[in-house]
Amino acid sequence: MKPLTPKRLAWICGTLGGALLLVMAISLKFGATPVSLTELLVNLWRVAVGTIAEIPSEHQMFVFELRLPRILLGVLVGAALSVAGAGFQALLRNPLADPYVLGVSSGAALGAILSLILAANRPLAMPLAAFAGAAVTIAAVYFLGRRSGEIDSYTLLLGGIITASFLSGVIMFLMTTLSGRDLRGIAFWLMGDLSSPAPVAAGWLFAVLGLAIGAIYTTAADLNLLLSGEQEAMHLGVDVPRVKLVVYLGASVLTGLAVSVSGAIGYVGLLVPHVMRMLFGSDYRVLIPTSALGGAIVIVAADTLARTIVSPTQLPVGAMTAIAGAPTFLYLLRRRLP
């Protein structure tokens, strides 16, 4: 009997945190313009000790103005989508739940596009609309997935897939109203892309990310019990309606946040929590922080591949995650569901 201790949790998170820093450093090195390792380390040291002026201007542009913001955006999106996926899996009691599969990402995308059409110049409109789109969609899918009062795995997934396809139709319709220049950007963004010049410098994105993940994390011990069913959780002292509300709002915020900065990147919320379960067990007290860190690692790594694999052409990162994620989904579908 080896229960989880704060020390063990700190070790696991510390190790993954180290791995994330390593992946970020590797991602800084690779790109259309290669940077030597020595050069990179010297310049990172210069940043650390505050002598940024000594960094060559060309290097500063490639590494710190183009690649670093994109990497930070990857960290944000990966963490948000993975924790949202883990949250939806517990909330809906479905191991295949994921913001993309359930159509929640499409809902957020529809909200974001509506805000572009209706309120183009308001900076906060897009993330708020994306959140609203995510929240409305998950509520709709939740009710579509119920059969005689109980959540049914297959009905839920089908409901999600049909909702996603319906929302994609609406998005296509709305896109015809846009001009050609906007159209290409939005089409690329819809596939899931980190190259858009998002306001990463705005710390509030990370603040919202931290708040939403933190809120979900406060319910981690309750989520372990919710996996056995709502009645069981209630009999073990879980305030089920409160926990469901926190996870529902938190996961919707995270999906809205990710989609508003990077479009609909698929399967991360499915892939990452499952890998973390295989590595560290299914305890949500470990799963939520490891999913956040693991998601960040996966997106940063996938985006580095997307930037370099057919360099100088850049692929949308959503294409990379879909190539890896769809087979995983099929594997889990055949193995896990009764």
């Binding site: 229960p3 989880l4 201790t5 009691r93 011990a221 996996l227 009999h235 299914s282």
Partner: protein, 294 residues
């Protein structure tokens, strides 16, 4: 035959101590989705009392209201009228944590979404005692180990729940309920998927736990003979009405059971005064059901 009467006198085999569980004219109705519509199912006013160390069996055919009664006892449903008191406190008015420290419920089916080991499952029973992220203390682990030991399931601790047999799983599930250190232990058809030997073993364990841990145990079951052997009193429900409450010998009358269950049943009494229900062959004898008006 005269209509069955509600027998409200205390049972013949009195257990020790004060009344712990008191069900006072508790009733319930499942709505059809609107107040104007007629309810889909109603459980009529039910009353009985149980002391500590007492084992109560709730009996009745399918759809007689057994699980509904259990939900009222567990406090997960609020009675439409009447009340359910545990040590003087209404179970439906307790906050979830307090309730989970006093009442443990073993459900009919348990489904696990992701694999967990038996010890992790048993430690879930300590959830209502923790705070925040609920890192388990050495005391929690000792209580969980003790619960597994009490049920002879220590060797299962490291086994994944989905790999152990039905009888073993039942012991681990029961160990989780023990880890809650409850006053009242409720079980919804715990013998459902067990073979006869495992059923007897389970009831024997429940009897022993009631004595050793001073629990009040309420078991919903279809096993009339096991209930007669192990229960201090039985509550017989039929079509949402509480027909009789009392010691098995008081409730088990052949004509009465034949009509309730719609099968030709006989009752014999053993030398220890315990009734035995025997199924007779031939056509079903349930032509006429008892009139519920008492």
């Amino acid at each position: 035959m005269s209509a069955p009467q509600n027998v409200m006198e205390p049972p013949a085999r009195l257990a020790w101590g004060e009344v712990r569980l008191s069900v006072e004219q508790a009733s319930y109705a499942y709505g059809a989705g609107g107040e104007r519509q007629a309810p889909l199912f109603t459980l009529g006013a039910t009353s009985f009392q149980a002391r500590q160390r007492e084992l109560v069996a709730v009996l009745g055919p399918n759809a007689s209201g057994k699980s509904t009664l259990l939900r009222l006892l567990a406090g997960s449903a609020k009675p439409l009228s009447g009340r359910v008191l545990l040590d003087g406190f209404e179970t439906s008015a307790m906050d979830p944590r307090t309730r989970a420290r006093r009442i443990a419920m073993v459900q009919q089916e348990t489904s696990l979404l992701f694999p967990v080991r038996a010890w992790e499952y048993v430690l879930q029973g300590r959830h209502p005692y923790g705070h925040g992220l609920r890192f388990e203390t050495p005391e929690d682990c000792a209580i969980a180990e003790n619960a597994l030991a009490q049920l002879g399931a220590t060797h299962l601790a490291d086994r994944p729940m989905h790999e152990i047999s039905g009888g073993e799983k039942q012991r681990v599930i029961l160990a989780r309920a023990l880890a809650q250190q409850p006053l009242l232990l409720l079980l919804d058809e715990p013998t459902l998927h067990l073979d006869l030997g495992a059923q007897v073993e389970l009831l024997r364990q429940l009897r022993r736990l009631a004595e050793e841990n001073r629990y009040t145990v309420v078991v919903v079951t279809h096993e009339l003979n096991l209930a007669a052997e192990f229960a201090d009193q039985v509550v017989l429900l039929h079509r949402g009405k509480c027909l009789r409450v009392g010691a098995p010998a008081e409730v088990y009358h052949p004509e009465f059971l034949t009509q309730v269950y719609g099968a030709d049943l006989e009752v014999e009494t053993s030398s220890r005064g315990i009734p035995r229900v025997i199924v007779r062959g031939g056509p079903r004898g349930g032509g006429e059901l008892p009139r519920m008006e008492s």
